[in-house]
Symmetry: C2
Subunit: 320 residues, 2 copies
């Protein structure tokens, strides 16, 4: 099966399940909570969950599918709260929850989603000891995600973030929930601890790679392709891995912290390409993908394992 | 044992446990998360949890004490987020989390506390099926609490809140977590479903009574005694049960929505006393306490049951 076909099918399934779970709720707060859930995204985390479960025990994902929803709901909760903190007004092409309603409702909508995540885990049809271990993993992962968001915000006022700090931040902010998606799928499908652990590491590594790739895309992809404001990270002086590696080599990007012309952006790209920075950072992202994939060697060959490898590579091959 | 002695002892125990669980954490976010946990309050919810557990199975509370912490941590999470929403700058005599740090950190600190609640439930030493049922109860209760806070905020812009709406709001906002405290204590101690359910109802009813009593105290207690700005609810036109019952009897309190002199406050009290409103609302609070206590008849007699009855009565006997 093609990866895109699998993702499309999972996305449809997840959306239908959310509709069947929550569409009867009519209060303002439930509307705000459901708002982003009902925007069909790539649903990469539920896909990872399902692939992990099926790679461990074919046919297992049906009984534990609410675990996949738990991960997606947790992801959505973090988006709603992050958008408040970051003052972002648009998400997935729609105004953010705190813009459509207001900040208090957005705080509560995130809280409701987070509460639902644990109820969804309790709703999976497996033995309770696996469910309670899933609760523990999701709870601890959520603490890490909050810590990652806090680090990300704290970095905004610093100019000396190290590569190790950056990697720890993106591991917690992004990697941990991808890791949790795979780990919970495997755990609830009955996997042994070493396989659960392998999926946690796999997700963390490809999540780190995803964020590094985001940094590369921001700089190198034309706005017409990426849909994002090109080189905004440089303009804002953001502590990306590119900026950090450049600083390590004595390249000062601070003179570019202003509105940039196309010529200036090309100048920066040339500067960083010539210094080997872009190649180095690209190689770092690829190395995280490779080590993630290597960790899956513990699994027997299957279509699902193949799709997991493709997801990993997709995280850095995507152009936007 | 005297109730105050029991509460003091529980409060000390809970504070020591929080210190042993979380004091090693040194990040800004963990400091913000721990800030309110470390202010010793009455710890009424952990006391309810312990009394419920011990009334069901003497000696049981030791193995499940982290469940009591889970409830207190959930309570603290709601305080941190509510203070942001309500713009409150002081809590338990100290500046609120969003004042000491900032709003983004306060949002995250609340989220971390909420995540910890579920990890703490997973940490109790009982069979997993009871733990996962506890997770489900706490998750659903948290959704209710958010809904209660949203109703409370929505009522601020209305002048036609019914008594039924008010009672539903205070049940969700306040009652449900008292109910959860007792229900989880009983459940994790091994109680049968009808006893777990009795504790949920008990907590909901005494929580409703607590809120009604708050409304009475606001109006009738001198600031010197209550520490609160007397009659602020009337000044602000708040939809309390007193205001709602007055409106039902055709008494218009809107002319008093301004800074009030002592004479005006006495005038309002006389007006409402003469119309029988204060006696009626006081009787409603007592009725909730009585029905809560009646529900405990399912339990065998014990010191713990006696203390539960005293807590219930304390909720409306307190002067502030």
């Amino acid at each position: 099966m093609e990866l895109m076909e699998y993702l499309t099918s999972t996305s449809k399934e997840v959306s239908e399940l959310f509709t069947s779970y929550y569409s009867d709720e009519k209060t303002v707060l439930s509307q705000a909570s459901n708002y982003l859930l009902n925007v069909e995204g790539k649903r990469l985390r539920p896909a990872l969950f399902k692939l992990a479960a099926e790679s461990v025990a074919p046919g297992s994902s049906k009984d534990i599918i609410s675990g996949a929803l738990a991960v997606e709901v947790t992801h959505t909760f973090t988006l709603v709260h992050d958008d408040i903190m970051d003052g972002d007004i648009s998400r997935r092409g729609r105004p953010t929850v705190h813009v459509v309603w207001n900040e208090p409702i957005a705080i509560l909508a995130g809280d409701v989603l987070f509460a639902r995540a644990f109820v969804l885990l309790a709703d999976t049809h497996v033995d309770s000891s696996r469910k309670i271990e899933a609760v523990r993993i999701l709870g601890k992962a959520s603490e890490d995600i909050c810590e990652g968001q806090q680090m990300d915000m704290a970095f905004e006022t610093r100019t000396d973030v190290s590569a190790a700090e950056y990697l720890e931040m993106v591991r917690k902010k992004t990697g941990v929930l991808y890791g949790t998606a795979g780990a919970l799928g495997a755990l609830l499908a009955g996997a042994a601890p070493d396989i659960v652990s392998a999926f946690m590491t796999f997700g963390e590594h490809i999540g780190i790679a995803f964020q590094i790739q985001d940094d590369i895309i921001d700089l190198t992809r034309d706005t017409a392709i990426s849909g994002k404001d090109q080189a905004s990270d440089i303009r804002e002086g953001k502590q990306t891995l590119i900026a950090i590696r450049a600083r390590e080599k004595g390249i000062d990007l601070t003179p570019y912290q202003h509105d940039l012309t196309s010529e200036e952006i090309q100048e920066i790209i040339s500067l960083l390409t010539d210094a080997g920075i872009i190649a180095e950072v690209t190689a770092e992202a690829q190395a995280y993908v490779d080590s993630g994939i290597a960790g899956l060697s513990i699994l027997p060959d299957s279509m699902e394992k193949e799709l997991l490898v493709r997801i990993a590579q997709f995280f850095i091959d995507r152009a936007y």
